[in-house]
Structures are given as structure tokens and as C-alpha cells.
Amino acid sequence: MQFLTLVLALLLISAMVYRLGARQAVRLGGGAKGGLHSLPSYYGYYVALWCGIPALILAAGWMIFSPLILKSLVLDTLPPDTLTLPAARLSLLMNEVKQMAASGDYRFASDDVARGAAERYHSLRTISFAAMTVAALSTALIGAWWGMRRVSPKLRARNAVEGMVTLFLIASSTVAIFTTIGIVLSLLFESLRFFAKIPITDFLFGLNWSPQTAMRADQVGSSGAFGAVPLFTGTLLISVIAMIVAVPVGLLSAIYMAEYAHPKFRAVAKPLLEILAGIPTVVYGFFAVLTVAPALRGLGGSLGFNISAESALSTGIVMGVMIIPFISSLSDDVISAVPDALRHGSYGLGATHSETIRQVVLPAALPGIVGGVLLAVSRAIGETMIVVMAAGLSAHLTANPFQSVTTVTVQIVTLLVGDQEFDSPKTLSAFALGLVLFCVTLALNVVALNVVRKYREKYD
């Protein structure tokens, strides 16, 4: 909050400096615009940038690095017997200290050492923030002074300002690259730590998944097993069921919408279908648990099947419904993109409408439809909330849709919600699962996007 105030203050100062710069430029130009290289406003922006950017960079850097420096300063003052504590205990203590310092509430300190450290941390932080404020504000003023000094009619203010803007635009466009690099690095880093404890072959080909590791070394039967095959088959089973629901329904709706529907019907039905895509997945999850699963269980009971309350079937059906609009709108697009000349040729040879669709339009649109289905599969595999709420937790290696299975995303969530220990294979295995998930969906996306792109080039 305080930091936000400082940023706002800096922005305000920059805005005022903008006025000063613009006015200065007009004055130096002899009151007329003719004598200046750029429009007066560019001189204003020029000075404002000199004022704001260095100060903001300084403040941001301070915010990032000061906690590290503060931490080492506080650690130095701790009594030696506290410093010899194991690393996990020490980081726990530091967390407590930070929390108390942030809230300013020392009542619940676990001991005097923590309380003292928290008070020290708090006072150091106050000093650091005050120093940062002074430093940032003086940087802003020095920047403004320097910018003002450089303002002259010959200064190419527009070029300088546009250069800065271009820099910002380029930097923004690289955020996507950095996101991908960040994903790959963070997943890879933790996964490698995991594979240092559990061999990668055990993880990829093991048939037994029970990540609960022992609390004590001498406990029996809880060494933790990290064979992910049951998770992969569970994910696959639910995705296949979802696709069995979504592909026919989505594709047939798309065909009807694109080929048969009256424009008025289309104008009503298409947005209604899109509503299905807009509903948050947590709502689908709740619906699966509360309505679909009991209904299926009752139906199975009356037919003599034993359907689990967390069956892959109910989860898959609900996920399929979620994916219907995804498939139908993608297929609708590609079917509409098939040139009418193909249809007219087919009608001319005497084919009926449905024969034209099945034998001419669909084959022509097939690559696009396959691309859409692949994207849908990748979405089904990565879908989290529906499975977390509706699918089971225990890993069964089964192809029986009436039984409960668990998926990769369910396990990632259960492993990471709650206590995390970044030195136990239990927590780290979530990152290994995330890496597998990322690689599989990435491969599906690349293939699908290529198929779709190739197809587009053919008809455009």
C-alpha cells in the first residue's frame, strides 16, 4: 500500500514535470512552434520520462532486493544456537518473523528470539522504506533537472520518446517468451530435483502411485510410490469419455448450425451454446458431484451396475459437455470456410444435402476439424476443477468407466494444496507431473495449430 502511494507520487511528479518541459520548450523556441524540432508535448514527455523511469526502476529494484538484505541482516543478529538449527526450522522461524513484522502484532511470538527478530525486522524495514522513498524522490528530481537541462529547440525529442515507446512495445511482446521460458525452467528445475530422488523410469513406467511418504524413517509400508501410469490411464479414460460425448454432439451441432439452420435459429442457438463455454469449470465440477454422479449411480443401481460416486463416467460426461461448444465453434468455422463451389458441384451431380456434407464438405474440412479435436483433447487433459471435485483421489489402474480413477491434475492439486515441503519427493512430484502435462499439451497444441494453419492456407 505504502509502495503504491510512492508509485502514485512519482507518476504525479512526472505529470507535473511534463507540463514544465512542454512550457520550457515553447519558451526556448521563442513562443512559436516553428523553431522546435518536435511538437512541444514531446519535450514534455521527454522530461517526464527522465523524471519517472529511473526513479521507478530504482524503487522496483529496491523492493525486490531489500527483503534479501534485510533477512541476512536479521539473521546476523540471531543468537548462535538459533543459527545452528536445521535449515527447515530456520526458514520457518524467518517466516514467522516476517509475518509478525508485517502485521505489527507480536503477541503470538513462539519465543523471545522470534519476537526480538521480528521487532528488529520491522524497524529495519521502516528504515529501508524511508531510505527508498528519499532515494526514489531525489532520483526523480535529479532526472527531471537533467531532462530540463537538455531541452533545447534542436533536441530531437520525438525520436527519443518514440525510441522509448518502441522499447516498451518490444519488451511487452517478449513477455510471452519469458512466460514460456519461466514455465519450462521452473518445471524442469523442480522435476530434476525429483528425478534425483526417484528414478525417471520408475516415475514414467511404475504401476503404483501412493505419494504419502513416511513421517518417520522406521514406519512400515509408507515409503511412497511414484509410478505415474495409473494417473496417465485415468486421465486418458476421462478424456476419452469426454471426447465420446463432445465430438459427435459438437460436430453434429456445428454441421446443423453451418449448413441447415435458419439465420434466426442460428442467432439464438449459437450464443446459447457459447454460454456453456463461459461457465466456470468449478460450476461444472459442483454440478457433476451434486447432480450427475448421484443420477448415474441411481441409474446404474436400477440396472444392476455398481457405479462409484466418483466414477470416471460422470466426470467424463460433464467434461464432455464443457467441451461441446469448443468443438462446435471451431468446426463451425472450418465448415463455413469450405468454398461454396465444392457444394454446388456436388448438388449439380445430384447429391442430396446430407450426402454433400458427408462426402464433400466434411472431407474438405477434416484437417481443421481434426485440429480442433486435438485442441479439445489438450483442454480435456489439462482441465482441473471438474476432476478435482468430481473424480477420485486414489489411483486405480483400470479401464472400467464405472470405477473411480484419478488424474494428473487432481494429483498436482492434492499434492500442492496444504503443506508444501520443497525437499520431499511428495511435493516435487507435482512438478514432474506438471512437466509431463505441459509437454503433452504442448505437443498436441503444436500439431493441432500446424494442421489448422496448413488447412487455412489451402483455401484462403
Binding site: 517468451i177 463461459g278 466456470p280 459437455v321 483442454r379
Partner: protein, 436 residues
């Protein structure tokens, strides 16, 4: 000609006239009708599912918007509330208001005096929130100490559920036979009524279903969304402008494009893992904070915004650019003064739709710990908080029956937010849509 005669000789029976041909034609027309029907049935299935989903949630959630209150003759006994007579704020807020409620219940049902089981049964009809309610009254006006009044107090969730018909009128509801009999008495006497459930909109989360409210989650969602908009809109538009207007077509920009398209299809939980590792472990930002949630949702929604902003920029006709440059504008002036304002409605529509997705997103928030049980309403974006969809997830996992209707009500609130956002997007599109 020779080809035609060859095919005819290969299928000698195929003719274009006669009863056979007639039959075939009918079969083909039937197939045509069937195929058409398949399409209609598919749409009907999808829409039926939508209808069932919405209907079941509305049916379950509607009752959560009202709550049962019991009228009790409460005496603000000075001895119980403030034995010292100091009227200090601390003494008044620490007083035992449950005793007042128990006394009021004994007054209402004189027959339970001396019967401990009966007393306990009846006490289960009144919510713990009643104490808070009385405390609020006393703190607001300490003069009422010593007076008596008939006061409407919130009923417990078990009583509430029985009265709403969500729970059976037997012991499975969590109330004993005796308590249920008393509840019927109260109902017959007209000292029960259903009021609008203000707790749902003014309270934070609670373990007591009748006291649990959404405001903490709403504020958490609001902070996350504000941060997401503040970051993803400028970044997304800047990236789109660069790629569409300035970048030359080369391997680097190709790489960026492929990257953006891929990121748009990466599961959101992977972004959660990224946020956990980078924002929490490396940068040391606080867990469960809307700040980190907003950062994670920024990364999730950025690709969507970039893609839709590029589409909007592409739709601006090239002659606008040529005219601007012809009059001496620099390329940046052309973009900033002409192209961007014209593309803005389209960009805003895309952004609002992306924000509507972000507000319903929960998987990345689970990863960064925004699933904690948080009673307090977050005051700043770095306080622990949950978000609306996560609150739905948390309540859905709660075992109490009364949370089912609360969950549905939370979903209705979430869907209402989405409906408003999407309606705004549609309105913007309709109002500013331009055909060139």
C-alpha cells in the same frame, strides 16, 4: 462417354427410373431427414444440459438468499453483560451473550427448566450468530442494558434447513425430536420468519453455514482482477501493437507468435505451478495473496488479450494508416492517434471477455494457496484471501448440508458477475461495431 458406359455395365441394375429408383430416392431422402434430425438433437442435448445445469443450481441456491429468524424475548441483563457497571467497550464486547439467549429460550419455553437435555435441544435452534447480533446491539447503544425486548435472532442452519425443506423433518437433520417439536411450536406461533439473507453479502467465510458470507471472496476476486486488468491490458495491447504494426516478419516475430498461440492453449494449472515457483519461491511474495493471484491470472489471460487485440487492429483498414502517414504523421503518431482509437472497442470487448474467463479461473489460485479458510475481509492485495470460484470449491467440499445451498448461491453470484461482464462486452461490440 466410355467411362459412363463402363460404370453402367459394372452396376447393371442401377437405373434412374422405375420402382427401384423410386425406392432408392425415398431412402436417400429419409437419410437426409435423419441426418438433419441428428444435428437438431445434438443441439437440443447441449441446450438441455445447459438448462438442467442452470435449473438445478437456481433451484438449490435460491433458498440461500433468505434466512430464518426466531423472535425471542431477550432481557439485556446488566448482571450478565456488565457486572462492574463500567460500560467499558472491552467489558461489553467480552461479555457472555449466550447466557442471555439461553435465558430468553427458557422464558419462551418455561417447561424446559431443569431438563438439561431439553435445554440443549432448544439451544441448538439458535445460531451462534445470535450472540454476535446481541453484542452488536449492545455496543451500538449501551443504554439498552437492563431493558427487555422481542428480538429477531438468526436460527441455526439445521433449523433453517428443516424449515426450507432442504432437510427431512427427522433426526437426520441434526435436530432431535424435542427440538423439532419446539420448532413446529415456534412456527405455529408465528415467531419464525424468513428474511433476506444479509450475512451472505456482508460476512466473510465461517465454519457456521448460516454465518458464512461471500464478501471476503468478492473482495479477493476484485483485487486479483484489478491487478490482472492493470497489468494484462497495457502489456497485451502493447504486444499486439508491436506485432501487428511495427514488427517486421522474421524468425523472431514468428517465434513470438507461435509462443503466444501455444500459451493460449496451455492448461491454466501449469501457470499456477509457474506462479508458485517464480512468485512465491524465488521472489518470496506472500502466499494466498490476491497480488500473486492477479499476477498468475495476468499470465493466463495475456495470450487471449494479445490475440483478440491483434484481430481488432487487423480490422482497421489500411487506408486509415496511409492517410495518416500521407499527412506527415510518424508511424507511432499514426498508430497512437488513429489506428489504436479505432481498434479500441474491439480490444476492450476482447479484454472484457478475457477478464470474464479470469474471474472464473480457480486452478492457478489453488496452486498459490488462495484456498485457505479466511474469515477476515482482506484489506490490501497482500492479505490472505480467497476468490469467488475458490470459495465455491471450498464450500462444495464442506460436509454440512446447509453449505450445498450456500455453494449454489455463490455460483449464482459468480454467474451474475459473468453475465454483467459479457453483457457489457456485447453492448460495446454492438454500439461501436463499424463496417468499413
Amino acid at each position: 462417354m466410355t467411362e459412363l458406359s463402363m460404370t453402367q455395365s459394372a452396376h447393371p441394375k442401377v437405373g434412374t427410373t422405375g420402382a427401384d429408383a423410386e425406392k432408392r430416392l425415398k431412402a436417400r431422402y429419409r437419410a437426409e431427414k435423419r441426418f438433419r434430425a441428428y444435428g437438431l438433437v445434438s443441439i437440443a442435448i447441449a441446450l438441455l444440459f445447459l438448462a438442467v445445469l442452470l435449473a438445478s443450481i437456481i433451484a438449490k441456491g435460491a433458498s440461500a438468499f433468505t434466512q430464518t429468524f426466531i423472535e425471542l424475548p431477550v432481557t439485556f441483563d446488566a448482571e450478565t453483560i456488565d457486572p462492574d457497571g463500567s460500560r467499558e467497550h472491552s467489558a461489553l464486547s467480552a461479555a457472555d451473550y449466550r447466557t442471555l439467549i439461553n435465558a430468553a429460550l427458557e422464558k419462551k419455553f418455561p417447561e424446559i427448566a431443569g431438563d438439561r437435555t431439553a435445554k440443549r435441544d432448544v439451544q441448538r435452534l439458535v445460531s451462534q450468530g445470535a450472540e454476535l447480533e446481541l453484542r452488536k446491539m449492545v455496543l451500538a447503544d449501551p443504554k439498552i442494558i437492563g431493558t427487555s425486548a422481542e428480538i429477531w435472532l438468526p436460527a441455526s442452519s439445521a433449523a433453517d434447513q428443516v424449515l426450507k425443506g432442504n432437510a427431512a423433518h427427522d433426526e437426520s437433520s441434526g435436530l432431535s425430536e424435542g427440538a423439532l417439536a419446539k420448532l413446529d411450536l415456534l412456527k405455529a406461533a408465528g415467531t419464525l420468519k424468513r428474511r433476506f439473507n444479509t450475512y451472505l453479502f456482508t460476512n466473510g467465510d465461517s465454519r457456521q453455514p448460516e454465518l458464512a458470507g461471500l464478501i471476503g471472496a468478492v473482495v479477493g476476486s476484485f483485487y486479483s482482477l484489478a491487478i490482472t486488468i492493470a497489468l494484462s491490458f497495457p502489456l497485451g495491447v502493447a504486444a499486439a501493437v508491436y506485432l501487428e504494426e511495427f514488427a517486421s516478419k522474421n524468425r523472431w516475430t514468428d517465434l513470438i507468435e507461435v509462443n503466444i498461440n501455444n500459451l493460449a492453449a496451455v492448461p491454466s494449472i501449469v501457470f499456477g505451478l509457474l506462479a508458485l515457483e517464480i512468485f512465491l519461491n524465488v521472489l518470496g511474495l506472500p502466499r494466498s495473496a490476491p497480488l500473486v493471484g492477479g499476477l498468475a491470472l495476468t499470465l493466463v489471460s495475456l495470450p487471449t488479450i494479445i490475440i483478440s487485440a491483434r484481430v481488432a487492429l487487423k480490422a482497421v483498414p489500411p487506408w486509415i494508416r496511409e492517410a495518416a502517414q500521407g499527412l506527415g504523421a510518424s508511424r507511432q503518431q499514426m498508430v497512437m492517434h488513429h489506428v489504436l482509437p479505432l481498434a479500441m472497442p474491439g480490444i476492450l470487448t476482447g479484454t472484457i471477455i478475457a477478464m470474464a474467463r479470469a474471474i472464473g479461473e480457480s486452478a492457478p489460485l489453488l496452486m498459490i494457496g488462495m484456498v485457505a479458510f479466511v474469515v477476515d475481509i482482506p484489506a490490501t492485495p497482500v492479505d490472505p484471501a480467497t476468490a469467488l470460484p475458490v470459495q465455491v470449491y471450498l464450500w462444495a467440499a464442506s460436509p454440512e448440508r446447509a453449505f450445498v445451498e450456500r455453494t449454489s448461491a455463490a455460483i449464482l453470484v459468480l454467474l451474475a458477475c459473468l453475465a454483467v461482464m459479457n453483457a457489457t462486452a456485447i453492448y460495446l461490440r454492438k454500439k461501436f461495431e463499424r463496417r468499413w
